[in-house]
Amino acid sequence: MNLFRSEEHLTRWLHHWHAAGDYVLPVEEWATVFSAPTFRRRLEPDYLARAPEYLEEYRRALQAAGKSLPAPDRILSTVLFTDIVDSTRHAAQIGDSEWRALIRRHDDLIRGQLQHFGGREIDRTGDGFLSAFQSPARAIRCALAIGVEVHSLGLRVRAGVHSGEFEVLGDHLGGIAVHIGARISALAGPDEVLVSQTVRDAVVGSGIAFEDRGSHELKGVPGEWQLYGVAP
């Protein structure tokens, strides 16, 4: 929080810095806002990574002070989730130190492929990655490349791809579409790239072939979801 001697001083300063979001309150009201339990989470080491989960709490704390958050922007995008298969067993076999070194090489490899295929790293998910692409075909090709490359490290990954509208929350993506992508990834087998029907329909004409994996319920997501495995 930035302090100003008065609202007049703040107005003068904002004239030179056109930030949106008018979160201006008398200092004593900020003290009340910050006493809300949600702000205690800022002491947690993974606060930044989990910030999107706390958005609703944060919104309520601001609402109590008469402020509101802007409606999140929504964009059409494609997410790719990758996750190392049997990571716990693998880590136990080789020990913590060697596992950490292996994970660093895995991370470098994935980031290299993201760069090659125009993907952007959004978040880490345990031993996996959440990344975003403008093109679903690129996301699939990136997932296939990652699946092949990690074999050189003695690893196997599962991958899930989903396209949809996502909420943009700072540097994060949010919304039900992220959960769908994560659920799809969790259903993928070793070396498999599993996609939603939305993705399959979007890449018609790309030359990418699919195999029907049937209809699935995705935990916490309404409806039945037809999923497809990418043919290698």
């Binding site: 302090l3 100003f4 003290a31 910050f34 944060y58 975003a132």
Partner: protein
């Protein structure tokens, strides 16, 4: 301050970002004990404000 220094009196000495004159706040938990000057206001750029959505991560 409740979360960082529960029950303790805390003095925050700062500067106005506009004029660099002093702004100080003395408080305990969320109770305000003294604000100098009394007209002081706080501005919190929100990480979810419109200026920060649509960031480069999602171009």
């Amino acid at each position: 301050m409740r979360w960082l220094f529960p029950g303790q009196e805390v003095l925050v000495e700062s500067r106005c970002l506009d004029c660099a004159e002093s702004v100080s706040v003395r408080m305990r938990d969320e109770e305000m004990l003294e604000i100098d000057p009394e007209t002081a206001v706080g501005y919190m750029p929100s990480p979810f404000a419109a200026s920060r959505v649509g960031s480069a991560a999602f171009n």
